[in-house]
Symmetry: C2
Subunit: 372 residues, 2 copies
């Protein structure tokens, strides 16, 4: 199979094949340091969410800056990072498929492995698999703090499930998964804050009931890039799971701008690099980044640093760019900010890390497509 | 790296790990035969579009049924299929990046390679690369027949570009690329037909002008699954490029139903297989297929064969299923019809081919993610 690495280390940015993912290494490193500073200043742990980047290299950069480990969403994603040297992984999701429970339990022989649960029969299946491998699985009870997705109800149902985990020989009750996924992308500041206040109240109540039952929460985890300051200041959450902060994307930038956050907050460090591949019309250009180079679920990409042109539509392999002043030329290269970073990253095999216009690092997307 | 093949040949369908792509082999084979019959009955060639499936195995099945070769949209995609044994490939798109022009020309030493062009300087670059490899590249002039995307204007501009190709020693003028991409998904039959009538008129005029200039079109190519019967009956187009017919998807099925097409037309043969992974609410279930298992650009997935439940929302790794009668249980498996097959396929590494409830074939997505 031909090699499809979009660039060589040492090449100039103009020589990069497109479409591909570009990391601005300066902005990326500043984002890592900013999150490390926030969690350090607030006496919190950061368990960086690797669902965003799916890269063992990036996970190691985050841990070198202080992250205690990573979160993953899938067993196969976690395996890829464990093979890449990460030794502390929370699968922040339920694992139900029997074969994947088997792989999860086996992985716990190699690394510290944590997983979430919201069902009693699933806890029993996790316990049985852990016993077969003589492994120790740490289990968080996932509570539904408002997103209406996975998770048992806070309060008594969470305590009952925690007791079941605590009673299982090869399982250890590790705490609560209390992520409010729906609040992350709420554009209105006050509504977002109100949703997290509600999540914090439900979580606090559950932590207290668990304590009354004699069950301590080593981890009270949750929070994402849209809300981490709220959970981080709550006094209840002790482990933040932010992922997107490292790259940002068009939707998270719109939220930051609506909040009026300072410009020294998280920066766009991930770009979809694209080339103008057809220019037969005066008022538009066609670029080579379409639906097979990005996910448009959260709106289209934004052309970085340009307000004279606009990315207005994507088909499978093409992007349409409005070019009212006819400034673009065949072969021109542009940086697009993806509408939504996570599912866009999941399409690509490589990141091209650039600094000062030169390719400095090539990072494989270690767990690309690992959805099992 | 652990193996992430979702199933073993011979396994029962219930043992397949999810989320993954499932092919109903019976429906798939009927689709191939139907398209073969249509093109045979209308004395047309079929150059199957491999952008849909990106699979060398499927390309060989299509060619075994009569397809003359395949279309690809990218050089790296074409390379993957050439390495998989396909020896007649049209890159039905412009190639502008200098490094990829180099790879295109080099590939023409191994296989019949055709490419599209809509720019004179690009034709010169193709000619120079073909000369460097002492290769022969066949070039189609892409004309814009209404989609407003790539392509020169029909008529005189197309003739001028064809003459430039014809004059270049290592290039051969092969005909016209006249694909009306925007018409494929127009839901109103009369509007769709009118758009293609317009495309046919522009194409016919250009073919005649080329003949007057002494340039014969070996290929007049275009058409997709939404409109192939129109181009196929035009007497102008001689090579159809349908791709999605082999799988269908939720949007193409909506169009077929709106047209009142007979039920022996193309069938859904591709499914996103998913498992209920959380069931803590009476009125909904959470499944394991979200944005990292499908593209939602053309609307959400449809649960196949069920009107008692509905797939209503996707986040990165989760799908929300409305379950008003509380019929779903943890671990239940469902077949989803993807909203849009092409960019959904591009996320997955494997197809699991099933017949009679048993896994019969595992097909790698040979050119997955090959977007260069």
């Amino acid at each position: 199979m031909p090699v499809n690495i979009p660039a060589d280390v040492g090449a100039g940015i103009e020589a990069i094949d497109t479409p591909c993912l570009l990391i601005d290494l300066d902005a990326y490193e500043r984002n890592i340091q900013r999150m490390a500073r926030f969690t350090r200043d607030h006496d919190l742990r950061h368990r960086a969410h690797a669902k965003t980047h799916k890269s063992a290299d990036i996970a190691h950069d985050q841990m070198a800056a202080g992250a205690v480990g990573v979160c993953c969403q899938k067993v196969s994603e976690a395996e890829a990072l464990v093979h890449g040297g990460v030794r502390d992984v929370l699968v922040s999701n339920e694992v139900v498929n029997p074969h994947m429970i088997e792989r999860l339990a086996a992985m716990a022989r190699q690394a510290r492995v944590l997983v979430c649960a919201d069902d009693a029969a699933n806890v029993d299946a996790l316990a049985a698999a852990a016993a077969r491998y003589d492994a120790r699985l740490e289990v968080l009870v996932e509570i539904d703090v408002g997103a209406g997705r996975c998770g048992v109800a806070p309060g008594a149902p969470a305590v009952a499930l925690a007791e079941r985990i605590d009673a299982a020989p090869h399982l250890a009750f590790a705490g609560l998964q209390a992520y409010e996924g729906k609040a992350q992308h709420v554009h209105d500041f006050n509504e977002r804050r109100a949703r997290i206040d509600e999540a914090i109240a439900r979580t606090r109540d559950t932590v207290e009931r668990l304590e009354q039952a004699g069950l301590a929460c080593d981890i009270v985890g949750g929070a994402g890039t849209g809300t981490y300051a709220f959970e981080g200041g709550s006094g209840v959450y002790n482990e933040l799971q932010c992922g997107s902060y490292i790259f940002m994307d068009a939707d998270y930038q719109r939220i930051a701008m609506a909040d009026g956050r300072p410009i020294d907050d998280f920066e766009n460090s991930l770009f979809l690099y694209t080339t103008v591949m057809s220019k037969t019309k005066a008022d538009k250009a066609i670029c080579d980044a379409g639906l097979k180079a990005q996910s448009v679920d959260s709106g289209p990409a934004v052309v970085f640093g340009r307000d004279d042109i606009e990315y207005i539509g994507a088909s499978d392999e093409h992007g349409v760019i409005r070019d009212p002043d006819n400034v673009l030329r065949l072969g021109d290269k542009l940086r697009l900010v993806p509408g939504h970073c996570d599912p866009t990253v999941n399409i690509h095999d490589w990141y091209v890390g650039v600094r000062g216009g030169v390719v400095e690092r090539l990072l494989p997307v270690t767990a690309r497509g690992m959805c099992l």
